[in-house]
Symmetry: C2
Subunit: 411 residues, 2 copies
């Protein structure tokens, strides 16, 4: 008998009508012969409400109490879905994280899963029972306290659970019908992809595609859990195809470039005329790392006089002000002439495992953007992707240009 994990996010369980629709999707899979574990998020808006109350309550934000409050939202959805499943004639039982148990470390608010004991759920399958699991939450064993996995953690719950119960696939139901070559709101010719490799999806998620949480793809890659991204808004009786995220060996027709991602969540910082001597990079980046600021896209340009250099890098937009303050306070220690910042920048990335075996892929992009008069502020590359920082107003033009350039436009 095949075993399946089905995960439904907040908009898919926003109210009882939507939850009934979820039950219809579950019923279809059960009737097709699968043992099913369903992982649910809180009803849309509920988690934000709970977080807002916690913020109002006090300044102790990275705290077990925050988790105790916020994890309650998923319990409600899980119980309601179990009730609806019973109402349509199926056997079901809801599971809180601590009941499974799903054991995490004690990093409250962004806990990591350490171990899932799937035996209780599997016992339920033997009794013909659907497991309805509250996503996003776990238990820290030695303190016996509830933890949460952080935003989007329900995807990670679902994937880790699929690995624990040895499910053949983990279906991520969401409000779009799959992974696209790029954001369809920006490029009308964007296409849904039938298959994407784990590695490509991981890059897409980290580079701005919002359809899956990065951590969940990491876990899927690690445990080789096949993910299927699909729409919960389909007619449950006639579901449409989605996108399978799988091992690259399952993908027969490899494109050179699979998708174009972009992220507006970037800010650029440049230090001018930094002394070109050993230790200067450490003087800049160690204080930022100590402040938990994630630095990306570092480039260094030696200036004409060869005794100084300009250093440019990006940080998340939300950390821009804090980064600037840290660097200003260390002007003396670092020794630079000028500090510049830019917030109206965007990072555009092209991703494809085909890049491994094809050279000159990025160079074609540089040429195409230059022809459109788009200035590239910074470039980084890795084995299966390259990213370019450009001025924000050119976002749509650049994305469309690359989408056409790499043959991704729908026919």
């Amino acid at each position: 008998m095949s075993r399946l994990v089905m995960k439904f996010g907040g908009t898919s369980v926003a109210d009882l009508e939507r939850i009934r629709n979820v039950a219809a999707h579950v019923k279809r899979e059960v009737e097709a012969g699968s043992e099913v574990a369903v992982v649910v998020s809180a009803m849309a808006g509920k988690t934000n409400e709970l977080i807002a109350w916690c913020k109002d309550a006090g300044s102790y934000f990275d705290n077990p109490e925050y988790d105790a409050v916020v994890a309650s939202g998923e319990l409600v959805t899980a119980g309601l879905l179990a009730l609806v499943l019973k109402d349509v004639g199926l056997q079901a039982r809801s599971w809180a994280g601590w009941q499974i148990p799903l054991i995490t470390n004690d990093a409250h608010g962004s806990a990591r899963i350490e171990k899932i004991d799937g035996r209780n759920l599997v016992d339920g399958f033997r009794r013909g029972e659907i497991a309805v699991v509250a996503g996003f939450q776990g238990l820290h064993a030695s303190t016996n306290r509830v933890t949460t996995l952080g935003r989007g953690g329900s995807d990670t719950s679902a994937v880790a659970l699929a690995a624990a119960i040895d499910a053949g696939r983990c279906d991520i139901y969401t409000d779009v019908d799959g992974v696209y070559t790029t954001d369809p709101r920006v490029v009308s010719k964007a296409r849904r992809l039938d298959k994407v490799s784990f590695e490509e999806m991981l890059e897409m998620a980290s580079l701005g595609a919002k359809v899956l949480q990065e951590r969940s793809v990491e876990v899927a890659l690690l445990h080789k859990v096949r993910l299927y991204v699909r729409s919960s808004f389909d007619d449950p009786a006639h579901p449409k195809p989605g996108t399978l995220i799988c091992d690259e060996e399952e993908i027969v027709e490899q494109q050179i470039v699979t998708g174009i991602a972009f992220s507006r969540d970037e800010a650029q910082i440049t230090l001018r005329e930094v002394a070109d001597k050993p230790g200067v990079a450490a003087a800049i980046f160690v204080p930022l790392a100590d402040a938990n600021i994630n630095v990306d896209m570092i480039i260094q340009v030696v200036s004409d006089d060869t005794t100084t250099t300009d250093i440019t890098f990006t940080v998340p937009a939300a950390e821009f002000e804090r980064s600037m303050e840290i660097l200003e306070a260390r002007r003396q220690a670092i020794g630079y002439a000028k500090l510049n910042g830019a917030q109206d920048v965007v990072k555009i990335s092209a991703i494809g495992i085909g890049m491994r075996s094809h050279s000159g892929v990025a160079a074609r992009a540089f040429k195409a953007l230059a022809e459109k008069g788009i200035n590239i502020r910074a470039i980084t590359t890795s084995e299966i992707k390259f990213s370019m920082l450009i001025d924000e107003p050119y976002t749509e033009l650049a994305v469309r240009t690359l989408h056409t350039l790499y043959g991704l436009d729908a026919k």
Copy 2:
């Protein structure tokens, strides 16, 4: 060091401003030197919202899933109060029922407490930690599922917890400032009582006084937990006195009648010309008991011909239609001439442990009501109370008459 349980109901924790007020009450007691466990209900309205969703979700109402959903409301309040307590400089930790653990039987929706292990909470006290306990909920150990104690169950949680941790008192904070001689909305001269005995409070709660849940008073009586009913709407810095519910030996000045209670939640049923033979009472009352209908105030009047009798009794108003249907269906088996029902009736009761040592207390009431032209439909008495069923429109007049008669009016 004295140990105290403080319980706050839904209106006392309705929003964050109210929760901050609760924290101020708690802080006062901690600074006065008490080890404190706080038991909280869900924010006002939240439990009703969750129940409404469960009803919408399906017909499986007396079900563990209902409890899984509904118990989430208290988790939110407990976490938020712990956050607020930390924000005002105190140490605190929230506790779900399953974390304590508070063990119940498996009667989901109206579970009974079987055992509370207070050791974890007491360990917390030793670390200087306030225990913030989600009321109304427990754990059924062998299924590892969350249970709820039924409406008003947070009072019962608090009292049972006070017994488990050997607290000197259990303070029930509510939206009134104590127990009154009768409902002040009906009798403007109603007085707050300084002290009420457990037995009197038990009768008052069962006879219509809404200030405390009956079950919680039973548990208090059983374990001799002194209850103090007081207002959460006072200025926390200058709390006003409430009502102490205690052993009768603590009460120096005993009144003959302590309070007048009334309940509109009654319906009267009369069977006319029932054959006066053995087994007829069983034919009437066994089917009602089998249908879980609680019969109260049974009276039997032998008719003139002495071969038949009229039997009158009351049932909860909500069970009236169902009771009538059951009796109609059994007309043949019971053998009665006519079935009458009345829903516009009210039960008025006078309660006082002084009745044990004074005779003729009830007779004075019958006379006083007769003088006002109020017809008494049925009477029941017990050691420390008597109840009369009268027509609903006379409620206020009857309550006021008895309140004056027994010297309860405020000076």
